[in-house]
Symmetry: C2
Subunit: 196 residues, 2 copies
């Protein structure tokens, strides 16, 4: 009789969620069956239900874990006294770091949230909207203080968020670029452009 192996400091539920995130990322939420997830964990499918409520709960946990992490971070940055441009750089670097260190979960939250069920779907979108709103406000403040060019702040937020999200491609390729170079070059690109 097989067992779900837990690392220290993590419950079996957390192990299941982590493996689910890996599989959901690789094959998409809908393509991963509970049997497949169970097999990856070395047990039979019904055994999972001793630890979790449903497949959809797994997705919910993943999405909100990620959503909350970013919300906490933006609130910290908002309450700091740093210059706006530094705040923007900080949040970009946080995105890049989080993307690289928690790739599976961030990827799933970015791509598979549409399979959330109500009311979680609505809650998740609300969290995301608020996060975007905070960033827009940050850019607007930067423009008012003349730290940032007069551009449409929403377009700037869109561009930044999309660019950092694109790090998921890098994960696939690696390309012998160090994480530090990647982070610095991308921050520089997004803040200062590429034209000489």
């Amino acid at each position: 009789m097989a067992k779900i192996l837990t690392q220290k400091n993590s419950t079996k539920k957390e192990v299941i969620i982590q493996k689910a995130a890996l599989l959901f990322k690789t094959k998409s939420y809908k393509s991963v069956s509970m049997r497949e997830l169970a097999e990856a964990l070395g047990v039979e499918a019904p055994s999972l239900y001793n630890h979790i409520l449903s497949k959809s709960e797994l997705l919910k946990e993943i999405c909100f874990k990620v959503g909350n992490r970013f919300t906490v971070q933006i609130e910290m940055i908002e309450s700091s006294k740093a210059p706006t441009i530094d705040k923007i750089e900080t949040i970009i670097r946080f995105h890049i770091k989080t993307m690289l260190e928690n790739f599976d979960e961030v990827y799933v939250a970015n791509h598979e949230w549409k399979h959330l069920q109500e009311p979680y779907l609505g809650d998740f979108l609300s969290i995301r909207r608020n996060y975007e709103k905070s960033l827009v406000t940050l850019i607007e403040t930067g423009i008012e203080k003349n730290e940032i060019k007069k551009i449409n702040p929403y377009v700037a937020v869109l561009t930044i968020l999309s660019a950092v999200r694109g790090l998921e491609f890098w994960q696939r390729n690696k390309k012998n670029i160090s994480q530090q170079v990647l982070e610095d070059d991308m921050v520089n690109h997004l803040l200062n452009g590429i034209v000489n």
Copy 2:
């Protein structure tokens, strides 16, 4: 007995593909059943098979239609004599325009390609790799000619491609930003940055 309605200049197969792209975008490939697609077209599911071979064929057609469109465009740009920086601007603008005008198909090609079956999956990834390689070469040329800052060309391509891909969020929001402002601001951001 219902019928699949065709617009002029399009076959019934094309109508099916177009509707499939819309549904695949909204609900993901795996979540859309053939019955659901048929209902959206006003017929019964088995009727679709008078026009198409399989569900996977629909995805294949969508992905390669998009892939080929970008390949044709990059080849045109490569063979032109314009300055490198103009070439880069042209391809960014092409991305933005194509994204906004053929949103469903581009979205599906970007997000659902992993459900392609071999050998199409391999072919698609090969097309995409070649496209990225062309862009990297373009950036490298720009650096050599001193038109572009000395940055990692792969990171620059990553940033640009991801940013334009992010226009899919804009589609959801609209936000009373005109397409022209969006295009100009994003191009400007990606080429010149946002810092004053």
